[in-house]
Amino acid sequence: MRKLDEVLKNNLNGLHYGNRVLLPFQADILKAVIENDIITDFSSTKSGASYKVREDFTEIYFYDYEILSEVIKEFEKIKLIIVEKGNDIFDFSNHRKIALSIEEKHKITISEINDDTLLFIE
């Protein structure tokens, strides 16, 4: 299974279809910010968002958006705080901030957020 560092280093992309996002690594998601929505409850399957960790990827559904590419504009990002599968979720140093840019042809660019790039409060 690919690790996040490998994904970032090799510029591996994720995918988006409608309101579904596929990330090429396994991770638990602690917080998601999409537009003005701050999502921390992933238990619903009707509103907000939910995610499933699959064998080779992680998929997220954003229920309040039908087609993400129509909502997320050029300089906007979906922001996530994630913990890679296998890491201690209670150790804050394992909390990683990533930004997802919605591109054409269902492609998602994944980048790590640091203080010099984007503003994202955990």
Binding site: K31, V33, E35, N36, D37, I38, S47, D64, K73, E74, F75, E76, K77, K79, D115, D116, T117, L118, L119, F120, I121, E122
Partner: protein, 464 residues
């Protein structure tokens, strides 16, 4: 006697719904207009109610549909004025004010969006107070919108390990509102007053001694609250104490916007008027700045600022409905102000302007109460020399209206344009902001209202 006069405030605000049936002089242009039916205040009331409850109770429906709702409710008023009242003048006048309003806000928003400020310093309550004070000062030069857009991100970033909603709320209180009370560029209501003939420096001369203690009270409360925030123990981090400023070419665009503020046929005689079109050369320049500053901005700065048009789009759509649907409410208020004119004191003008500015747009509210106060002394708001004379002979009235229009804009998210933008940027940064009522009940009423009451008792109580 004074109590009786103060009791006029609710009377003043509420009775116009029930007894307005006469023909009256509009006050804004000196033409006669038929008073709208009080029932026509309903679209405005519904829109305000939806703005207040939408994000709270039906968030996603509201997010998807607010443009349609706003335009629909505004259209009811437009059709009413066109078909029933046959009054195109009020609509054109409102369209002009709306276009000026959105041109100024959007140009400042986009021009500052390409500027990136990075401050690598340890967050302390004192540093935060300095930033809020600095923001309040520059709000008088680049407007509350410009100052808010320029400083909100560095302010959040500095406090990233200890940020709480109150940080953003106090930012809205000071930088996005109270700060901009000293010049006509600071806040749109004062700009309208300037266009009507009030001297540019009148506001500074008559407001600074109220501005300073008010801002100080807000900042002292902030300092105390912030001192209890012990989160973000960053002792082990080495700070460079550097301040980085990127996108300086956008300062030129800001300068162009500021100069264009004065390009009005009413101020400079050689400036062409496009009347009856509801815009002028100023608005064309400002919209050109929107386009140019976006196209020529450093993409890295836009990316770091996560620049997008959604906040200004939201303001544009909501305020097109607000501006249109509030025409009847403002005309009824103006009428009532004339009816009760002789009994209205500066204190009543202070509260009436303030309460309405908290929930309506403060620019047209200011203008209507300015018109009412002028009417009290038989002056006409359309005659610049009379407005100037009024500002010199009866400064107390103008001061009360100006202060209330600007300060009370901080009472709600909808009180002033930048409030909404700051809220949106904060939420996109991951900060959970209070709801409309949460903002009002937890912050505005307990913090701002007592300050405004003190202000009333110190400055306006008992004055006639």
């Amino acid at each position: 006697m004074l109590m009786k006069k103060n009791n006029l405030i609710p009377l003043f605000l509420l009775t116009f719904f029930f007894n307005a049936t006469e023909i009256f002089a509009a006050g804004t242009e000196g033409t006669e207009q038929v008073l709208p039916n009080p029932i026509m205040v309903l679209p405005f009331a519904i829109l305000l109610l939806m703005i207040a409850t939408g994000p709270l109770f039906y968030h996603h429906f509201w997010e998807r549909n607010y443009p349609k709702i706003s335009i629909f409710l505004g259209s009811i008023t437009v059709v009413y004025y066109l078909v029933w009242l046959n009054d195109t003048h009020s609509l054109l006048h409102t369209a002009h004010e709306y276009i000026s309003f959105i041109a100024l806000l959007s140009s400042l928003y986009v021009a500052t969006g390409g500027i990136l400020i990075k401050v690598d310093r340890k967050a302390t309550p004192l540093l935060n107070v300095v930033i809020l004070l600095f923001g309040s000062l520059i709000a008088n030069i680049i407007g509350t919108t410009g100052a808010s857009m320029l400083l909100i991100r560095p302010f959040i970033k500095i406090n990233k390990d200890r940020i709480k909603p109150y940080h953003i709320i106090f930012f809205i209180f000071s930088v996005s509102n109270i700060g901009g009370a000293l010049t006509p560029i600071g806040d749109p209501p004062l700009f309208l007053g300037f266009l009507r003939g009030i001297n540019f420096f009148w506001f500074f001369g008559h407001i600074w001694y109220i501005w300073i203690p008010t801002l100080l009270m807000v900042l002292i409360i902030f300092y105390i609250v912030d001192s209890f925030n012990k989160e973000g123990n960053t002792e082990d981090i080495n700070y460079t104490n550097k301040i980085e400023f990127k996108g300086s070419k956008n300062l030129i665009y800001l300068l162009i916007v500021l100069i264009s503020v004065f390009l009005d046929p009413g101020i400079i005689s050689w400036v062409p008027s496009f009347s009856p079109l509801p815009f002028g050369i100023r608005e064309i320049i400002m919209f050109s700045v929107v386009w140019l500053s976006y196209k020529t901005a450093d993409k890295k700065n836009l990316e770091a600022n996560e620049f997008n048009f959604e906040p200004i789009r939201e303001v544009a759509f909501l305020f097109v409905g607000i501006f249109a649907s509030m025409i009847p409410a403002l005309q009824l208020i103006a009428y009532e102000a004339k009816v009760y004119g002789q009994q209205l004191t500066p204190g009543i003008f202070y509260w009436a302007t303030g309460i309405l500015s908290a929930f309506l747009d403060n620019a047209p509210t200011f203008l209507n109460f300015l018109s009412a106060s002028l009417g009290k002394y038989a002056y006409d708001v359309n005659v610049k020399t009379q407005v100037l004379e009024f500002s010199e002979l009866y400064p107390f009235y103008l001061q009360a209206i100006s202060i209330a229009a600007v300060f009370f804009g901080a009472m709600t998210y909808i009180g002033n344009g930048p409030n909404f933008m700051v809220k949106a940027i904060s939420e996109r940064s991951g900060i959970k902001m209070p709801s409309f009522f949460g903002y009002l009940i937890k912050y505005s009423v307990p913090i701002l209202l007592p300050i405004f009451i003190i202000l009333y008792f110190v400055v306006y109580h008992g004055k006639v």
